[in-house]
């Protein structure tokens, strides 16, 4: 699974009406230029935001993706409610300490 490719897909989807149309018709050709495996393809076609969230898709990409998948904001929030506290983003340095 490539989180980068899934996120890149959503980033491109946001500005491509052609990709949005293809996704809406569940046309798998929408994944042609992306290294996205079968499981992720299914999740993206189904609008499975819970699975995508658990896999670490950035919330600023997941939310617009959900809108393009036809999910209302309230339904989006409801689906993620049970995942509170499971995946909090951090700005702490991963490899060095600030100021080193």
């Amino acid at each position: 699974m490539s989180l980068f490719e899934v996120e890149r897909f959503i980033f491109k989807l946001k500005s491509s009406e052609e990709m949005q149309f293809a996704l809406g018709k569940s046309d798998e050709s929408v994944f042609e230029d992306f290294e996205i495996d079968g499981e992720e393809r299914r999740e993206l076609l189904k609008g499975d935001i819970k699975s995508l969230y658990k896999k670490g898709v950035h919330p600023l990409l997941l939310r617009p993706y959900s809108r393009l998948s036809g999910l209302s904001p309230s339904e989006y929030n409801n689906r993620l409610k049970a995942l509170k506290g499971t995946h909090k983003l951090s700005s702490e340095r991963q490899y060095s300490r600030t100021g080193e």
Binding site: F4, E7, R8, F11, K14, S15, Y53, H58, P59, L60, L61, L62, R63, P64, R67, Y76, N77, L80, K81, A82, L83, K84, G85, T86, H87, K88, L89, S90, S91, E92, R93, Q94, T98
Partner: protein, 276 residues
């Protein structure tokens, strides 16, 4: 010699434009009365250029190429990119000459910013712009600061960038307004969206309004994280503080607006205090 004639910072939650009616009447009145005050102040200041210090939200940049700072050298900006923002798509003139000089000066000062002639405006600029200068007639410059995809520039580094910006203001001839946008506590799109850390927000604003506003530069990153990843946008407030030479601010409005999923604040920096 150029002059900094106006400095402010405010929240840019998309709900402000897309669904203002979802907030309560009291919340709306508090926020929009404050932005009206900023609008009047900006108009009275008569700037030649308005500089927006604002983040991107994966509208322009992705992790295949993510700058810490990107200076918009657009001759014309267009936005918003979000069709659901309930704002007509508009064109705004760009302050490309100012941007060019800012780019060169900050490079020589060791910041190594990237630049783009084609930045597309998202809600981070358009929400404040529509409230503060809906005429869209004054040239703008967008300095994009990465606040969404770690590693991020430190809050202190953003303050230093603001100081470098101030040096360019003084070097040129324009009357300049600087508006930071973002925050305060929020976690948009996360499972925690809607959880607002009003304690953090109030402490942050109290520091900014005090005689030692640069204390915000020492807030531990972990404390900012705990308020929600959207709180990383306090970097833009630190940038305004730097441009204002560390002058304190004055909070015009604050409320944790659940409907907009954001601790919404509006502040103006006191450029006359201790002589900016």
């Amino acid at each position: 010699m150029g002059e900094l004639v106006f400095a402010a910072a405010m929240s840019h939650a998309p709900g402000i434009a897309a669904f203002p009616e979802a907030a309560s009447e009291v919340e709306r009145a508090g926020f929009f009365d404050a932005t009206e005050e900023l609008r009047n102040g900006l108009d009275a200041a008569k700037p030649d250029v308005v500089i927006f210090l604002a983040p991107d939200h994966f509208s322009n940049f992705f992790t295949d190429n993510m700058p810490a700072f990107c200076i918009g050298t657009n001759e014309v900006y267009e936005g918003p990119v979000e069709e659901w923002l309930r704002m007509p798509r508009s064109k705004i003139p760009g302050a490309s000459a100012f941007a060019g000089e800012l780019l060169e000066v900050t490079m020589d000062k060791g910041f190594d910013p990237s630049f783009s002639r084609g930045l597309k405006l998202d809600h981070s600029v358009m929400v404040p712009m529509q409230l503060l200068r809906p005429e869209y007639d004054i040239p703008i410059l967008w300095i994009m600061t990465n606040c969404q995809s770690p590693p991020l520039p430190t809050v202190r580094r953003c303050y230093e960038f603001g100081q470098a910006l101030r040096a360019v203001v003084a070097k040129r001839k324009e009357r300049v307004a600087v508006i930071g946008t973002g925050g305060l506590s929020h976690a948009p799109g996360a499972a925690e969206a809607g959880m607002i850390d009003a304690d953090f927000d109030r402490e942050f604003l109290a520091l900014l309004d005090s005689d030692s506003p640069t204390a915000i530069l020492d807030i531990p990153p972990g404390r900012v994280d705990s308020a929600g990843f959207g709180t990383w946008e306090i970097r833009l407030w630190a940038m305004v503080l730097g441009a204002a030479n560390g002058q304190r601010a004055h909070t015009l409005s604050y409320a944790p607006v659940t409907a907009w999923e954001t601790g919404c604040a509006v502040s103006q920096f006191d450029l006359a205090y201790r002589g900016a």
